[in-house]
Subunit: 215 residues, 2 copies
């Protein structure tokens, strides 16, 4: 069966995977870019957003696994945008411009569904009010033989981990104390027992943790 994968989750030493006070200008809230600086230097990020060449070291080796083999993404509404509650308008089409980097169907979990958005480059945003299991069923259907990525944010990843639906989790532990925000690990006591875990430190200062579900 196709796998369910999480990639490139930056997490602080105190367990926060995003900061507090998300706004239009600050998708990660007060964390700014601190959880993702290791990622922004990689060739994957640079060729996606900056049109240039980036690093090819261990950070890239992990970052680059984000795309290949993925047929659909599931994301939480807070990854899609800073709005909360009913949509005030439907002008907002995400942080990523006309041609988002996903190039697959993307299922956005929200209690406030809205019409499907077809973007350039093959990305289609479907807004669904669904449980993790229901969302995964839809995403699997859309992905065909390919894998499904749980794209974040932390609340969404945590829900899928809690429901034991994740086959592979990649976390980059960033050596900062964030203090506030959304904790990835809450409610997941003993989670490691379900996974093989490998740790690799990068010269950038982050540590890549790879969780692979035991069979």
């Amino acid at each position: 069966m196709s796998q369910v994968r999480v990639h490139n989750m930056g997490v602080s030493l105190d367990g926060f995977a995003t900061g507090a006070d998300q706004t239009l200008e600050a998708p990660f809230g007060h964390a700014g870019s601190r959880l993702m600086e290791w990622f922004m230097a990689t060739n994957t990020f640079q060729s996606m957003h900056a049109g240039g060449a980036g690093s090819h070291g261990v950070d890239e080796a992990f970052a680059g696994q984000w795309g290949p083999g993925i047929g659909a993404e599931i994301m939480g509404r807070n990854k899609f945008g800073p709005q909360r509650g009913p949509w005030e308008d439907e002008e907002w089409t995400g942080w990523w411009g006309e041609d988002p980097p996903f190039h697959t169907p993307v299922f956005v979990l929200t209690h406030h569904p809205r019409p499907t958005l077809e973007m350039e480059g093959g990305t289609t945003f479907h807004f669904i009010d669904a449980s993790p299991q229901e969302a995964l069923e839809l995403a699997r259907e859309a992905a065909g033989d390919l894998d499904v990525r749980i794209g974040g944010g932390p609340i969404t990843v945590r829900q899928f981990l809690d429901a034991d639906l994740v086959d592979h989790l990649h976390v980059a532990v960033v050596p900062i104390v964030l203090g506030r925000g959304e904790r990835l690990w809450d409610g997941l006591e003993g989670m490691e027992e379900r996974f093989e875990v490998e740790a690799v430190a990068s010269p950038s200062g982050v540590t890549h943790l790879s969780f692979t579900r035991r069979r």
Copy 2:
């Protein structure tokens, strides 16, 4: 001036440096030995407690820095024992038997002072009701030219970090989700700005973080 050092603090992915529900049989509470398994395999631990030879890899390279150059330790009362409040009796002399592994003066922070305990092998427990600054002054005096170790537990280490009294902090991030216990990083938002941080992954699965205060 002599340095203030913290060594061998095992911390879970969710930031806990000890578990919940400490008892006489479980110094780390429900965490059991999980935060310290990497340490228990080292030559430092094995030659201290088990009379045998242990590993000499990167875990030992960090673990072994614990002793040399240290002239005094400061520890919190919860490291000394599981009792809380006024001492019911003074029979308890710590978890470590007649000849504790410290071999220096040890200042135990407690709101309930009791007479000094002279143990075998040069360890003397002094029980003091003092602020971090006051305790450090006493320990520095006792240590002479040597360094002072902040021995734990997490509440005590956190207090010394909060007061910016720590020159070197060694943390081993253990890839487990502990869920409950005492968090090391609470209240220390942005702490990393005061330190140079280096990360090294060990084949044992832990990641050693070395914080060295910027000058």
